[in-house]
Amino acid sequence: MKEYIRELFSGYVRIKVVGSYTELFINRCIEYGIPIWNIKRIDEQTIVLSLYISDIRRIRPHLKRTRCKVRIHERKGFPFMVQRIVTSRGFLAGVIGSILLILILSNMVWAISVNGASPEVEHKLRKAAYELGIKKGKFIFQLPTNQEIQQELSESLKEVTWIGVKRNGTSYHFQVVQKQLPEKEPAADPRHIVAKKKAVITKMYVEEGQAKVKENAYVKPGQLLISGFIGKEEKSQLVPARGKVYGRTWYVSSVDIPLNSSFVTHTGESKTNYSFRVYGFNIPIWGFKAPDFKHYEVNERETNFRFLKWQLPISISFKHMLETKEVERTYTNKEAVDAALTVAREDIKDKTAEDAEIKTEKILHEKVENGKVNVKIHFEVIEEIGKNIPIVQGD
């Protein structure tokens, strides 16, 4: 039994020994302590016997001395079995196939988790992420970088103050900090509404409180518009004043527009080269040549391949080249003024609240100087001018 196990584990061969003095060969093997077994005669000249793999070299001198020739007949035992398995095509294909499969699966998104969001926001976030392509089974290198994802999601979700995007291997984690939407204004403290800039009142809506000015009245900053005191003098009562006061206000904006300017724009032509990067070496897979355009901007994105939890030194890189063009722009005086108006309007929009409305605009003066047009524009705007101030009671 012991012998049998040793035979199996160390591996042995059945060899054919051909010669006129095969008995002599057997005797010499015994004499020199080379284990042989299961000896069988095939014909006058030939015997078959078993021999350990490790002894194959040792029989050579004895073969020479007894003028026998040897041929390997069969190989048996685990070492040969392993060799056979490893060299068999099916096994090899299986091994390569499974490595490839793991490689592919290691580079896919498998889980998406959201932390810190209410169910509603979580649903919206998942939907937004889905639209960005973050879904189960998607290849990670097809997805934008975490930073881009973060930016996109923050923009598309209004209810969220901050989104942290983290990728851990094959799973995405979103950490959400939700905006604390203000509760329905709590019973406010008594207050007045005063003007925050000088204006001519155009409209007033008083919800609570007492109107102190009329339409078309001219008000100065700090002037009381809606009072928090209601009722007659003896029974006067303090309330938080509520209401909206719109007034006509004035702005003057001064804008400089150069007549000649040059800037760089994209022509719309682009080319993408794909390549593998192995230990820093670039192996192009698609798109070998540099683009035919002279000036271009390069956007590069690189994603590492992973195998299970390990980062491989292989990455796939996308090189997106956009053709650019330097454009010389020359305004005529009229065009320059139009451009200045547009700029000035944007400026006013920035300065005022969203519901403000530009009523009139008037160019005060325009001057061409040193290749620049300087335009001064006067705007009349209707906007909310009310501002809350608390009533501090003296006692």
């Binding site: 095969t22 008995e23 057997i26 005797n27 015994i30 004499e31 302590g33 042989i36 077994w37 299961n38 000896i39 069988k40 005669r41 015997i47 016997l49």
Partner: protein, 97 residues
């Protein structure tokens, strides 16, 4: 001289009950039916074929005849032969005859 020593060994075995195979370098042969024959104290294989095996002994040779012989194990002093054993005989050296 050799004859004298032979006599001494014969005396030792018969009088002191020492095993003859050990003292006199004689082969010890064990058979299991016709299936196996196990020979200790042989001096080498002279002839090996499917029907006949001739072994060298200290004195003379051992001839085994049968069918489908196979040397299961072979070690410096022992042999296990498998097959259908029909005939076992000693061939003595001519000078001993």
């Amino acid at each position: 001289m050799a004859k004298w020593r032979h006599g001494l060994k014969g005396w030792l075995t018969s009088r002191l009950k020492l095993p003859a195979d050990a003292v006199m370098d004689l082969p010890r042969i064990t058979m299991v039916g016709q299936l196996h024959i196990y020979i200790e104290n042989h001096q080498g294989v002279l002839k090996f074929s499917n029907e006949e095996v001739r072994l060298l002994l200290k004195q003379g040779q051992l001839l085994i005849k049968g069918k489908d012989f196979m040397l299961k194990t072979i070690l410096p002093e022992e042999i296990l032969l498998e097959g259908k054993i029909e005939h076992v005989s000693y061939l003595e050296r001519p000078e001993d005859l």
